[in-house]
Amino acid sequence: MLRFSNGDDFTIGAAPYAYRPAAEQETSPRIILRLLLENFETTGFVDTGGVYLLLSPEVADNLGLRPDDGIPTAPLMFRGQRVSGALHLVSLTLPAEQGDDLTIQVTAFAPQLTPFQEWPNDFPCILGMMGCLEFLRFAVDPTNSTFHFGEIG
């Protein structure tokens, strides 16, 4: 685990990540992590410029998130299209390969596509900063593709 100079823990767990484009038509590699959403395991990539946890419609559906259960919010611009949806509270766990798992109660955007909309490239989930990663300590070690994470305080 990573530690401060005084010996205190900086992180409590670490997990390998894949470094590749998130979708077939993408060219820029992303840090893609394994996630546990409630009891559903999938992958998502880190986007520190984004907000909330952006779920793919299929994943949101699989989690049983109904629009009426969330709070309405303005449509998001996602890859050139306005996507409506609602915000929900979702439990996200980063499973550790070393150390302990970390579970975060995050704000998640569950898209509601219109009949004529398609989720581009079936994008995986996206881990944004505000409402998701913001109160997490994390560090990336590119030499062995390891994502270190820890709780604050």
């Binding site: 409590i12 767990g13 997990a15 390998p16 894949a18 590749r20 484009p21 998130a22 979708a23 077939e24 394994r34 546990l36 009891n39 559903f40 395991e41 999938t42 992958t43 907000v51 299929e58 994943v59 559906d61 699989n62 969330g70 709070i71 309405p72 919010t73 303005a74 915000l87 929900h88 509270l89 766990t93 499973p95 550790a96 390969e97 150390g99 302990d100 798992d101 970390l102 579970t103 975060i104 109660q105 995050v106 704000t107 490239n121 079936d122 995986p124 505000m130 409402g131 998701c132 990663l133 913001e134 109160f135 997490l136 709780e151 604050i152």
Partner: protein, 235 residues
């Protein structure tokens, strides 16, 4: 007498910078209601009496009525052509500022406008509307703070409590390492076999394929339980 701003003479310049009008020192604006959904060059209709001075809000100065730099007040021009276009509606200047700034997506102006709202005197519904507008404006931190403030002021209001809960700062907790699937083995499977499943959803456990389908829904239907599985789309 009713007049449209679009019909006013060019004397009140910077019309694009106006977003609200109200009677001077008497009562709130009587307008078409929501000004925010009108084109920039047509601020809707306003009702006034001849020679009434009409204070305006200036978007350039964060909607501070007192900070007008170009004119101070604008006189109405009742001699132009007039017609009643819509029923008159009382508007709430504070909330209208939020509506307008959210509509135009001006986060900075929204943040400034919400600071001028006396939230201690606002209803639970105003808080909810404020949060929704903050989200629309991209002022996510304001949305969170407003929801929290509203929830503390109205502890029995179920919707506000939900807003506050969903928008609250993430709560982080540690737990012992789960006994879920071996990510490395599953990742190796994707590297070595992913090409054959490109575009499909797959379920893996400890590096072995448990199921695959074209959609997540179809895959889920195949699985008795998703516990311990890595489910992902293969790219």
């Amino acid at each position: 007498m009713i007049g449209t701003l679009a019909n006013a003479p060019p004397a009140p310049l910077l019309i694009r910078e106006f977003f609200g009008i109200r009677y001077s020192d008497t009562e709130l604006t009587v307008t078409s209601g929501s000004l925010f959904d009108l084109p920039n060059d047509d601020l809707g209709t306003a009702e006034w009496w001849p020679n009434t001075n009409v204070p305006v809000f200036d978007r350039k100065s964060d909607f501070a009525e007192s900070a007008l730099s170009f004119t101070g007040t604008v006189s109405a021009y009742p001699e132009r052509s007039y017609e009643r276009t819509v029923a008159n509606t009382m508007i709430d200047p504070e909330m209208s500022r939020l509506e307008v700034t959210a509509q135009i997506g001006d986060e900075r102006a929204f943040v400034a406008a919400q600071k001028q709202v006396d939230w201690q005197r606002r209803s639970a519904e105003d808080f909810i509307r404020g949060v929704q507008l903050a989200l629309a404006a991209g002022a996510y931190l304001v949305a969170r703070n407003l929801a929290a403030l509203g929830a503390s002021r109205f502890p029995n209001h179920a919707d506000l409590q939900k807003y506050a809960r969903v928008l609250a700062p993430p709560k982080v907790s540690r737990s012992k390492r789960s006994s879920s699937s071996d990510w490395k083995a599953s990742r190796n499977w994707l590297i070595h076999h992913g090409e054959s499943y490109r575009g499909q959803w797959v379920a893996l456990r400890d590096g072995e394929l448990v199921g695959s389908a074209n959609t997540l829904k179809a895959l889920s239907a195949q699985l008795h339980s998703t516990t311990g599985l890595l489910i992902t789309k293969v790219y």
